[in-house]
Symmetry: C2
DNA sequence: TTGTATGCGTTATCAT
DNA sequence: ATGATAACGCATACAA
């Protein structure tokens, strides 16, 4: 009755093979048993189409080979790419990934609780909620945001990226540039892009202006800012660094609406390295985040046993890629 | 010793509250117990910061509130959107989502096995491997591909979408159109776009040509096809329907390289409804797939108890949206 | 209404 | 080397 309708268990296999339960367990886990026993068990496994129940395994071993990934969503191309590469990195180590999209930041805490309930082996989180309670017993790796010295944070070298953007604009002949930023005013790693850019401008003698908007402020503020810097149809900036490709994308559209040509009149550099489709070119000239490396680093740090070797902050090198909104090779 | 370093269990809560194990279980599961007992248990739960172990729960109940989603990747914007909305739909029902990116189609089977091992409550799969073995005991819902009458398939109304594309092109003044397709030659739902388009062309008296490439054939074939249809700098098509937005995106670039203006010289319609960033406009005029509705339908069908009520194929209505590669309002 | 005991599928520690 | 048995954390049927 039972073994007909429910999935086969080790007990069923043992009965089928005429051996003891422990023997089956050993075969399944690759522990040496007598040749003839092994064959009989393997045959029974195949015959019954037996699969180990990893929940029972997890219950016993207190290890689940599952990691939770917390992200705001997967529709933003950067998050989507991150999710994909973290999935790959986990897969390489035979870990499963629980994806948790945090529609609002209340859910972040809820998900962390959920993840702990589910007894995941660890959590990788790109979160915005400033006061998350992370249990000591659940390994956590943060992306783009430092959450205390006990929790490693992995990010791009955002400062160097900002600096690189300034240097590239200088190399490309700009003299008068602008930095545009919108987004969370949280003290996270990406906010170092601004400081890096300023630093780069100073060291290369670029004069620069900044326009910083907080989350929720209307985009029109940027339009106004740009309009105010147009005199006789000419923009007083010849280069713009936008804090993300997304912003760059919107700014480029706005510039064109203002009858300014990109990159002829003004060159634009973004940050992230977004492509519309995998394999397509970038949406703009940009500072590319090393997503596969970030993913690999997160997984490595998370699964690393030696807790004392966990660094508080890891910054990975970024690269510059031309994407048609700068004038490479034209000078 | 034990209760110090490991996470608290029901037993710990029971001891702390001075009640029996069963009582704690009842409180946790909302089964009525005496008021004073409940309070004591709740207090102990809070004090110890107790969380139920859902693996143990699952082991007992044979239910895990976890669903696996099989997708090729999350970098493709359509897949990314699907993953996000399925995650939301599952979350509404308090289900967790295991994301499984199938880098190559061998892994699809591996993942299905893994999912079954992990005792997920069901699988939602957008797969390409033509001979997948789906266990009878694991509920499965397929996206975009029929996998037999026992497995429900959810898709957009691809036929209607193709038809709609033809009708729109006709409405927009086209008389001579082309259909371009590349991708899996598998017998899946999206391949009905072609038939729908032909049908639409016929009913609206459009003359049309087709260029169909199989997976792996070089994109240059399209370039050649288009070049061959240019005479005196003019393309002999005034409208093109591409089987996906991705293809449309590439084709539009090619057309511009061939000194053809889009949409002035030739109008282009894609399929899927991709945006570069959430909230941004579409990358081209397109037939939009109702991703949130597809997600919701998949989850509904998967978690529906009444197995006899599961339809073999559900097609959801698509809509047309202008995205700047057609000439709305110009005629 | 509350407590006790058993079993879920697996692993590991024992004797054999 | 193999087989019996306890234990993982929880739910529940049953006894009190």
């Amino acid at each position: 009755m039972k073994s007909e309708h429910s999935v086969p268990t080790m007990k069923d296999v043992a009965r089928e093979a005429g051996v003891a339960l422990g023997t089956v367990s050993k075969v399944v886990n690759g522990i040496p048993v007598g040749e003839s026993y092994r064959l009989r068990v393997e045959e029974a496994i195949k015959k019954l189409n037996y699969q180990v129940n990893s929940y029972a395994q997890g219950l016993k071993a207190n290890k689940t080979y599952t990691v939770a990934l917390l992200l705001p969503n997967t529709e933003d191309p950067f998050f989507a790419s991150l999710a994909y590469h973290i999935n790959l990195s986990l897969l390489k180590r035979r870990y499963r990934m629980l994806l948790c999209c945090t529609v609002n930041s209340d859910q972040e805490q809820e998900y962390i609780t959920m993840a702990q309930q589910n007894k995941v082996d660890g959590i990788i989180g790109l979160t915005y909620n400033p006061n998350l309670q992370i249990e000591e017993n659940t390994p956590f790796v943060a992306i783009d945001r430092s959450m205390g010295s006990k929790i490693p944070c992995v990010a791009s070298d955002n400062f160097a990226g900002g600096q690189l953007a300034a240097e590239k604009l200088a190399d490309l002949g700009c003299t008068n540039v602008a930095f545009l930023r919108i987004g969370s005013s949280l003290d996270n790693e990406p906010n170092k892009r601004k400081a890096g850019f300023e630093n780069g401008c100073l060291s290369r003698g670029l004069s620069y202006k900044m326009k910083i908007l907080n989350d929720g402020e209307p985009f029109e503020e940027f339009t106004r800012f740009l309009s105010e810097h147009i005199h006789d149809g000419r923009l007083s900036f010849d280069g713009i660094f936008c804090v993300t490709d997304r912003l760059a994308y919107l700014i480029i559209k706005t510039l064109r609406q203002l009858n300014l040509r990109v990159p002829e009149d003004v060159q634009v550099i973004g940050f992230d390295g977004i492509r519309v489709f995998p394999g397509a070119e970038h949406v703009c000239s940009t500072i590319v985040q090393p997503v596969p490396e970030i993913a690999e680093m997160c997984v490595n740090l998370l699964l690393q046993e030696n807790i004392s070797a966990k660094p508080p902050l890891v910054c990975l090198p970024v690269t510059y890629v031309s994407g048609g909104t700068t004038r490479e090779g034209e000078i």
